[in-house]
Symmetry: C3
Subunit: 132 residues, 3 copies
């Protein structure tokens, strides 16, 4: 299993990791199979979305911020970052991608994004390849 | 890897693809393993939900429309379909289903649904089987 | 494939199942591979989140309740539990975890949670191991 280091610089940030994941796939020599991209944190997640116009990520982040604002009167968790936990769960902690002909199978406009919701922090992403 | 063609007819639509996925499983001859159902688009997703009463899907679509309405003052993406990107990320771009005894393992009331959020369009769904 | 029995006691409840999943992994003898934790229900899901402070789960449940309240004027589904379907889809019906050195790969603070949204009920969770 490979471990990627991700350094986020914002409190909330979608950082593209597609190339790093593809590099792990290439190094593995896997021609066919799949890859699990797994985020071992509870206030960060991972998602797939558009890699072309960065405004898309900004708009998605704004949607998430509107849906789950940082402060709520009912929050009890002492660390004060419950919103980050909820947003991470909404995005999910893993994505699963097929590998064909030695490459990630992604749509033309798709990229893999690490989703930071309580940064900036140093984070890890686990990448596990299953060959076939 | 098999590719399903999905033709959506509405702007927002949950279209059941369970039988098509099951057909791929049957053709593969896999007795045990799992299947990745992967949507290579950024404004469409895939989810699992009730296959009995179609009102459930209508209610879920209405919930998503309420949570992420089509227009927001803060949207900057020129194509104007940021809401579709967010909704796709909320549902996710893949589902993973176990295969046992040559069949998809689904609960009694579960079906696999392609989630269109910016249709109508011609879409693809990738189906990759891992045998064991 | 192993089947876990989960008995929920609340209408809405995040119940930790990490140890049960780990026990299936241990029994399987798998040293490396991955595990699919699959919920075969349409009003329950599964997610990964913090296993330390139970307030986090309470806050996440409160967020979901706020985002998808039990009653909406537009709900048409006769059973009246559409909100549970939407919440289950937001959390998702499966999590996929890597196995390394015979153990689930989880972050320090991560646990696997069965998400009940229409309980209390007797539920099932399917756990399927893929060895490598």
């Amino acid at each position: 299993m490979d471990i990627l280091d991700v350094k986020t610089t914002q409190h909330s940030e979608f950082q593209e990791i597609t190339k790093s994941v593809q590099a792990v796939v290439a190094r593995s020599g896997a021609k066919r199979g799949h890859v699990i991209v797994y985020v071992p944190h509870t206030t960060a997640g991972v998602t797939i979305n558009e890699n072309a116009d960065p405004d898309v990520r900004a708009d998605m982040q704004a949607d998430l911020e509107r849906l789950v604002p940082w402060k709520q009167g009912y929050y009890r968790h002492g660390e004060g970052n419950s919103a980050a936990h909820t947003k991470a769960a909404l995005m999910g902690h893993s994505v699963l991608l097929p590998i064909e002909q030695g490459k990630l199978v992604l749509g033309t406009w798709q990229g893999v994004y690490f989703c930071e919701f309580d940064g900036p922090r140093s984070r890890k992403v686990y990448v596990q390849i299953s060959k076939e």
